[in-house]
């Protein structure tokens, strides 16, 4: 096993060690979005745009747009944080 304290030289006592915390905001966002997609996959809604039912439109085309926009939002947020 390697000496991880090499990466934590700021303090050597056990009390000062900083442990990782699960990224709950990301988990909650992921699962809310996926839960919505599951819901729209399983229900039947009235006809919407492009000759498709609303739920088909949401879970097929709209979801791709949300995916790419939120992903780049995440990358942009991290870049701003780093700068």
């Amino acid at each position: 096993m390697i000496d991880v304290n090499k990466e934590n030289r700021s303090g050597n006592s056990k009390a000062e060690k900083k442990y990782v915390k699960a990224p709950w905001p990301i988990f909650i966002f992921q699962w809310t979005f996926i839960a919505l997609m599951c819901y729209f996959s399983a229900v039947q809604l009235p006809m919407g745009p492009f000759g498709l039912p609303w739920n088909t439109f949401i879970v097929s085309w709209l979801s791709f747009i949300v995916l790419i926009v939120t992903s780049f939002g995440y990358i942009y947020y991290n870049k701003q944080k780093e700068d």
């Binding site: 399983a42 979801s63 995916l67």
Partner: protein, 488 residues
Amino acid sequence: MGGNQLTYLIIILLYLAGMFLLGIYMSKKVKSSANYYTSDRDMGATITGFSYSATQMSAGTVMGMPGTGHALGYNYVPGNFASAAAPWFSYLSIGERMRKVCERINAIDYGDVFKHRYGSAAQDIYSLVIMLFYIPLIIAQFKAAGDIMQSIAGVPYLIGLFLIGGVIIIYTLSGGMFAVAWSDLIQGIIMMLGVAALAIMALNKAGGFTEINHTLASFDPRLIKTTGFVTGTWAVCNILSWSFLQIGGSASAVVRFLIPKDLKTLRNAFGYSIVFQVVVFSSTAIIGPAGRVLLPNLEKTDQLVPLLINSLFHPIIGGIVVSGIIAAMMSTVDSVLLLCSSVATNGVYLKYVDQNASPDQQLKIGRIATVAIGLISIALAIKPFSAIQWMVAFSFNVMAAAFTVPVLYTVWWPRASKTGGTLGMASGLVTALIWYYLGYTMFGSFSEWPFGIWPGIIGTFVSFIVTTGVSLMTAPPDQEIIDTFYLE
């Protein structure tokens, strides 16, 4: 051989020659077993992102998905979206932590990670599952490659199989992860441009979105629904499996988190992966329904993509698109081959045969394993057993059930114990296998299961209960393990 077939063949041969030369060139960079499998952890964001996604996409993505879309219409499109969302789960849920942990323990795959986190038995389960369930996936891709060479380029099945199989083995053997990652980038770009061009042409020829959807509804109103031919439970399992379960089910793709030079590069690689996946999976989602409108009476849906290429493109462009389909297979096979080789070397040879092997010996063993696994897979693909395509979904479900929860806990839950992690892995694996058995005894099919719940989903659920419950009932891991895996 017709004029189109000859043009396709020339372009495919040029592409294969390029891959061959790439492998020879990259062989100069290979110095040791460690850099053979991880490329010195020095890759850039573009290569990492494309390599992750190209590995995840296979013949099933570019041939199978449009074919299923032809048969089921929009019923399968949520699966396309879920596959495109896979990086969302793998990169954002485990990517950065896994990269950090692997660097600390100098791991080259999940097997190393499991050994340090949960103990030797967990690594053995991992090695067993990879060797048992990934080799059928290589065989299935080889078979698809032989079939495509036969149906599109007019080359006899065996010649196509040996040609493509041989090139993959040579460049993986020579250049290891360097060749695999670079070839994935090239293959990924060809694949992305190919399927996007096919989608645009098919969409245009079929009259646009609204026209396609109206025509589909006139054929059968179920084609434009998400649950016309499938149940709501099936639709939910479809989304969960192809998005969240990729964490455990795509071990060969997730090892890409070990190759970028730093965490910032990994984060940027996520952007490339998302773009690549959205383009490919939205394109395949268009090709299926558009293909149904253009070729409504197709008997074998697997033939949809070859027929569309023949009818929509000039032979030279068609040849490039066909190369994109072959690229999809090759990018999966090279990565799986390399992973199986690392398991054979690291999880079997170094563990049970010679623990003191020198770096040179380790590299030699790795290369011998690559050739041996590749040749065995080619030999088995000469006359593949009939259930080979079914084995692809089977291997994904089994691996997802075994690994997803233990992997997540490896980076986020310090309380997960050695016994909990090992039993969680074993219970997920056994549950998925039992679920397949129950489905077969109840419905006489390996594609139908009790309550319509997919084996990967039920296996992951049981693995979650067992890993969590057993961990809380047994002693927590040593402080050294907690520090290694969970210190920031």
